[in-house]
């Protein structure tokens, strides 16, 4: 039953990704610049540029290029980057896991801190605690993450030496890349020290990345918690003798569904926000790749990144939707009846 539901969602998400890619393809076609020259290199002769143009199919009409691109994409080929001269798919495959693990830590932090702060604020609403949390949330949302990254790196990493300054692993503890996600690689290698090392390297970037999202989640949790806490079922629970912790827990369970939706939505955005901080921390992820691709007008690489981010967004949404069915009994029965 959930299977059908998932298929329908997947179809919608595929459509979404398709339109996103199409949109970005034509947008990038409008960008002035000559990818063939970039690919041929700075000192290239005219013949070499022309040669590159044919190799990249840039001599064909845009519609043909688009058709070719779609055809390639269906075959799982995203083309070749004009800067790295490698298949974009393999470029992305090495870089995406790196970003995803930062996003995963960031997401976990967002969920934990956002829900925690939101719950505290809602439970202490209109009191000092609430005000404090609201100001904290405003601060988290107001600090530009790229600035936070620079400042925190300098302060926590350089001055206080609490965190590694940059990179994804320590010099001595680099593991051979199997999955590309350093934490997982270290775990696969069975090296506990390296796992911790990889994790601590990603912590500061993840903290920076999660700041604005904590603000959004915190605010949402706060308002839906307030709604839940003033609902009759909470009052009834209190009348039955439930204590504040239990009450908060029950209210939280009822608000978890909308919170999840927001979290799912943010996965894609967080992946794209890595654009702003990866270079600062020297993490070779998709954000840094996208930044470089954008600067070098590596159109297919940009498209690939967008495709990946769109897919992350879509997958996160799909997972969230499935989780919601699991979490929300009302949806569960609708899904069952739809699947029937």
């Amino acid at each position: 039953m959930a299977g059908r539901f998932a298929v329908r969602h997947l179809w919608f998400l595929l459509q979404t990704v398709f339109w996103v890619v199409t949109l970005v393809f034509f947008l990038t076609k409008l960008i002035p610049g000559d990818p063939a020259r970039v690919a041929a290199g700075r000192f290239a002769t005219p013949d070499q540029v022309e040669h590159m143009r044919t190799v990249l199919h840039l001599d064909q009409p845009v519609v043909m290029q688009y058709a070719g691109f779609l055809g390639q994409m269906v075959r799982g080929d995203l083309g070749r980057s004009t800067t790295t001269h490698q298949p974009i798919l393999s470029d992305l495959a090495t870089r995406l896991p790196m970003t995803l693990q930062v996003v995963a830590i960031g997401m976990a932090m967002t969920a934990l801190v956002g829900i925690g702060l939101g719950t505290i604020a809602a439970s202490a609403r209109q009191k000092k605690g609430d005000l404090t949390v609201r100001i904290l949330l405003a601060l988290a949302g107001g600090i530009p993450i790229f600035w936070a990254a620079i400042i925190l790196q300098w302060w926590l990493g350089h001055r206080l030496q609490l965190f590694p300054i940059s990179g994804a692993t320590s010099y001595a503890l680099a593991m051979p890349a199997r999955t590309g996600a350093t934490v997982i690689d270290a775990a696969l290698a069975g090296n506990g020290e390296a796992v911790w090392d990889a994790f601590i390297h990603l912590l500061l970037p993840a903290i920076c990345l999660s700041l604005p999202f904590i603000a959004v989640v915190g605010r949402n949790v706060r308002s839906s918690m307030i709604g839940a806490l003033s609902s009759d079922y909470v009052l009834f629970s209190i009348a039955c003798g439930a204590g504040p912790v239990r009450v908060a827990f029950h209210a939280l369970r009822a608000t978890i569904a909308p919170t999840l939706t927001i979290l799912g939505m943010q996965c894609g955005w967080m992946t794209s926000a890595s654009l702003l901080i990866e270079t600062t921390f020297g993490i070779p992820g998709i954000g840094a790749y996208l930044a470089a691709a954008a600067v070098n007008q590596d159109i297919f690489a940009v498209l690939g990144c967008v495709l990946v981010i769109g897919t992350v967004f879509a997958c996160a949404n799909l997972i969230v939707d499935l989780l919601q069915i699991w979490l929300d009994p009302r949806l569960r029965s609708t899904a069952a009846s739809q699947g029937a």
Partner: protein, 500 residues
């Protein structure tokens, strides 16, 4: 700190030059070459004085007509794979470059074909005569043809070479994490092995100068290049660090559009040259790491003529602007905001021009955008700030690339067209006699200087911050940054324990 002591006899280089590919064909990009040079050898090389010297090729002979080069190859060279180095590796490398037609192909565009009569000699046929071709070979890294062919795939091994190496250089690649780091171990069977080199050489790719500086101070990095000068000055204060000041072939230019806009008037071009604060540029923008330009190319380049800097003379500049009737008029300038020096130079020029009554609007462009502008000369703004450099210490190819009217639409940044210059440059390049070529290039430089299609702003130096145990690096004129193989561990620190 344990981190440091674990690293005895190892050098970690921190720089922002993450290679996009380790394929030697891509070494026309500075950032790729820094890493790739550790693992490969070239046929010939230049020493710090700009003299050609043997490498994989021990001797060479240029054909009478200038259309062929014959090389004698070094014997007993083995690649990291164990394969012996022979003529077929040279032929394969050059053929591959020609087929792929990108990157370093630009340096050897005259290459037609190569033949060999024995494993240790190669004859290269050129499509046009070019006496500097042998110098261009100093930019070509030789591939282990057998190994590459094993992994050739459908793209001549591009994908494989992007993250692997197939060279005979002094280091062999032991680990590579794209965008993050690469680690090399010393290859003791190298023909130019030097025990002074560290057992391990690593590159840590850190995008920001401040990060590199912080990592240097944390002891993670031993050699910092591409540092912003304020960071260098700060590190200079710390006793553990040594700052090496290396010349580079890099020069900062402002190219003036000869065809369109205000700058088509020579008086305005002259005025702009007089309005710029060259000393300020060197003192503040480069923080002393550089010198005011004294010619079209850096001093290390052969056949260059000395051209005194115009100096700053605002009054004269103002008079010229008045004479041209251009007061209050506007012009625009393209610059790449990714480079701090360009950004700052752009602002300095803007401020200078304001003082002589010209309004300069700035147009930040990415490199691809600038390339597109060049392709459509009418869209080129009046001024562009650029770095340029001879790829090897020969001025001819660079002059031709920039000032030959045949390259309008490509790399002729000023849309400069002077038939006399054209013929001098072509004659120089095709001359079979090096002296004749040199004098042609010198005459061309004088003509160009008179036309003022460019302002030579400053020659850069690079500051390399090294930990106490590191020796080198040394200047090599084919490198815009450093030659990583010149980094050594100084003998007296070999056994030294870690810094506090």
């Amino acid at each position: 700190q344990t981190r440091h002591s674990q690293r005895m006899n190892k050098i970690v280089v921190g720089s922002n030059t993450a290679p996009q590919s380790l394929d030697p064909i891509m070494t026309s990009d500075v950032q790729n070459e820094l890493t790739v040079a550790s693992a490969y050898d070239k046929l010939v090389d230049f020493d710090e004085k700009g003299n050609l010297r043997p490498a994989l090729a021990t001797a060479w002979r240029i054909g009478e007509d200038g259309r062929s080069v014959t090389l004698t190859l070094r014997r007993n060279v083995t690649f990291h794979s164990g394969n012996a180095f022979t003529a077929k590796d040279v032929i394969y490398t050059l053929d591959r470059i020609k087929t792929l037609g990108m990157g370093t192909a630009a340096f050897v565009s005259e290459y037609m074909q190569a033949t060999s009569s024995s494993p240790l000699d190669v004859t290269i046929q050129l499509a046009r005569p070019n006496v500097t071709f042998i110098s261009a070979l100093s930019k070509i890294y030789i591939l282990d043809s057998a190994l590459v062919q094993q992994h050739a795939g459908s793209d001549h091994g591009q994908s494989w070479l992007a993250s692997h190496e197939a060279g005979s250089g002094v280091y062999r690649l032991s680990m590579y994490i794209p965008g993050q780091r690469s680690t090399f171990t010393r290859y003791d069977k190298s023909w130019r092995n030097d025990p002074a080199r560290p057992d391990k050489l690593s590159f840590l790719y850190l995008p920001n100068s401040s990060t590199i500086s912080q990592e240097l101070q944390a002891g993670t990095v031993d050699v910092g290049i591409t540092l912003a000068i304020p960071d260098v000055l700060q590190l200079e204060q710390i006793p553990d660090f040594r700052v090496a000041r290396l010349p580079t072939p890099l020069q900062t230019y402002a190219f003036l559009n000869m065809r369109n806009g205000l700058t088509s008037d020579r008086r305005i071009r002259r005025a702009i040259a007089l309005a710029y604060d060259y000393e300020g540029h060197v003192e503040t923008i480069l923080d002393g790491y550089g010198s005011v330009a004294s010619g079209i190319a850096a001093p290390s380049v052969k056949c260059r003529i000395e051209l005194p800097s115009p100096g700053r003379d605002l009054a004269a500049a103002r008079r010229l602007v008045k004479a041209a009737g251009a007061q209050g008029k506007a012009l625009s300038m393209a610059y790449n905001p990714a480079f701090a020096e360009h950004r700052r130079a752009a602002l300095a020029l803007q401020s200078g021009l304001q003082q002589i009554g010209l309004k300069l609007s700035l147009q930040p462009v990415t490199f691809p955008q600038y390339m597109a502008m060049l392709g459509n000369p009418d869209s080129l703004p009046e001024i562009s700030i650029l770095w340029d450099f001879p790829n090897y210490p020969e001025i001819g190819p660079m002059l031709s690339r920039i000032f030959d009217s045949a390259h309008i639409g490509m790399t002729n940044y000023s849309i400069y067209s002077n038939p006399k210059v054209d013929s001098l440059l072509r004659a120089g390049l095709n001359a079979s006699d090096a002296h004749k070529a040199c004098s042609d290039f010198k005459s061309a430089q004088a003509l160009i200087a008179k036309d003022q299609p460019l302002i030579n702003i400053a020659d850069s130096q690079i500051a390399v911050v090294t930990g106490a145990q590191v020796g080198g690096p040394e200047f090599r004129p084919t490198f815009q940054l450093i030659d990583p193989t010149t980094l050594t561990i100084t003998a007296n620190t070999r056994t030294q324990v870690a810094r506090k």
